[in-house]
């Protein structure tokens, strides 16, 4: 039996006595692209936060790359996020005073793993995403450009799982295609899995599985 990259069982997350996730189960296999859909406020971002080990305040069992998160230290979880997970946040979470390249390399710089190879790799991703590799601070970039910088940052560490919260929300159709063509290409090349909150039908059509979050529980949905 192939071990799941991410395995979540009976996840419960409560906000102000409201159960946003109510016994959610989730499995992610290697190389798989799982799309998560749901109405606004259904808890999609909350689910991604928990799966991405950003939110430890939940009940249930979560295993990421074989690590039981309940037993892991904060440092071990940080290592997991840095080496195994890539994040494309809904609000990008870029540092506005830094250039695209510096934003992309920021985790590596702070982790002391910055290197020439990594810079070249980052520059390659920037180029493939059609971004300018200059010193312009990201606060001066368009929303679409910032989305692509966030995507490049998520990919630079060659993650095992890419977690994306509405990665194409700010992109036009053409840019959406460019991003997912790249993701598909890299996914085939590197073999990483994707968990993405998406609404675009074109993107949903690329997914291996579609899960709809409703009433705090994930339901398999056919494309």
């Amino acid at each position: 039996m192939i071990e799941a990259l991410i395995s979540a069982k009976a996840i419960v997350r409560t906000f102000d006595n409201r159960r946003v996730l109510d016994g959610t189960d989730f499995q992610l296999a290697q190389g798989e692209f799982v799309a998560v859909t749901g109405k606004s406020g259904a808890g999609k971002s909350t689910l991604l936060g928990i799966l991405g080990t950003l939110d430890p305040d939940f009940k249930g069992e979560l295993t990421v790359n074989g690590v039981n998160t309940a037993e892991a230290t904060t440092e071990q979880l940080a290592t997991l996020r840095r080496n195994f997970l890539g994040f494309i946040f809904q609000d990008f979470h870029l540092l506005p005073n830094l250039s695209a390249l510096d934003n992309i390399l920021l985790p590596a710089v702070f982790s002391g793993t910055d290197s020439t190879e990594r810079r070249e790799h980052a520059a390659g991703i920037i180029s493939r995403l059609g971004l300018r590799n200059d010193s312009t601070p990201t606060r001066f970039l368009s929303r679409g450009e910032r989305q692509r910088v966030a995507s490049a940052r998520a990919l630079v560490n060659n993650p095992g799982v890419l977690m994306a919260d509405e990665p194409t929300a700010s992109l036009d159709e053409e840019s959406e295609d460019v991003l997912f063509d790249l993701l598909d290409s890299l996914r085939r090349e590197k073999g990483f899995a994707i968990v993405a909150v998406v609404h675009s039908k074109k993107v949903l059509a690329r997914a291996d599985r579609i899960l709809n979050l409703q009433g705090g529980v994930l339901h398999e949905r056919h494309a």
Partner: protein
Amino acid sequence: MKGMRKAISLWNRGHWKDYVFSQGMLLIASLLLVFFISIGLGVGNILQRFLSSDLPEEQVRVTPLGVQAGFFQTERGGSEISDAILDSLSSLPQVERIDPQVYAHVPAYLRGLLGGRNYYTDITLEGVTDAFVPDSLLAYTDWNYTLGDSSTKPLPIILSENLLVLYNAGFAESNGLMGLTPDGVIGLECRVNVGSSSIASLQFPPINVRAEIIGTSRNTALFALAVPIEFVEEINRLYLPESEHTYSALMVTAGKAEDVPEIVRYAEALGLSAETRRGIAQKAEILVGVVIAALGALAGAILFAAVASAIHTLVADLKNRSYALGVLVALGTKRERLVSVFAFQIFLMSLLTTVSGGLLGCGLSYLVSTTLLNLLPALRVAVSSIAVFPIGWLSAGLGFVLMASTVSAWFFFRRILVTPVTELLRR
């Protein structure tokens, strides 16, 4: 280290102004702290120096009430202490010894060479016993002198340092003369002329004797040029033979220090003024205390403002960037790595800034001290520098500034680090 520099460079990009401002405030706080400690303690020392007394604990200085002993009492009249009062005090069982002071009621002047220039000044001679001669001088000084000795030895003079201060602050400055220090006057030879001065002269022909300043004294009982008491009594008898024998002041020595209050009560009952070391010290302490407290309050207020501003800026800077910290943690930066980066940024840089501020404060204190001493020669007599640099106090003060600012920032930083990432990202 290279990675650390890059991390700090990225972290501060777009925030250099805030960072430099916070470090600037820290620099100013350190500078002001050192300046006020240095100058404040220095001023305290000067005050202590001027107000302190060599008066031993078991001695009482008795003077006529309302008369400042020694000041130009060259004319007869006014209240003085009679032999009867001296006898009355001597009869007290607590009194071990009485050393009288007698002022010459005869005009006199002093002439000599000072710094290669002719020097002349009217003087008051103050006759004292060897009780007023510092012990260090008594070992090799003969404090006995009469007119009969004038051909064989110079008249020994002990100069009051209070007089020296008055000379420097007033006469020397207004006449463009060089200031004098205690060490500078010892050994000076001169001529003392008794019987006439620039403002008065007596019928009897003046007497001129060779004199030498053999030492200085900080005894507050001395206000003039102290010479052996036999000499003063001799010239008083010579020039004013009809006058009653009186004393300008009495230095009463008690058998035990505990007996001093009883002697003070007795002297005051006789209508005299009695001053003790404790009384002088208390007055000095109050004055010094008030000055130090005022300086301290001013320094404290300025320091508080500077430290509070440095803390506020450091904390506000971190608060503004809690979101960025959240991003770093979300992307897998280990907290221990962040701790080391910020330890460098907050502690090491603040330490360098504080030390730099301290050094600048020392420089400023030195500059102010040098300038004031150049402007006020009288101060040069009392001290060689107004600024003092007590390493312990300065280190403690700088340590406080450093700890107050960095520990506050550090606590805030630790608080951010334990905040859930999702919450930091929402800010």
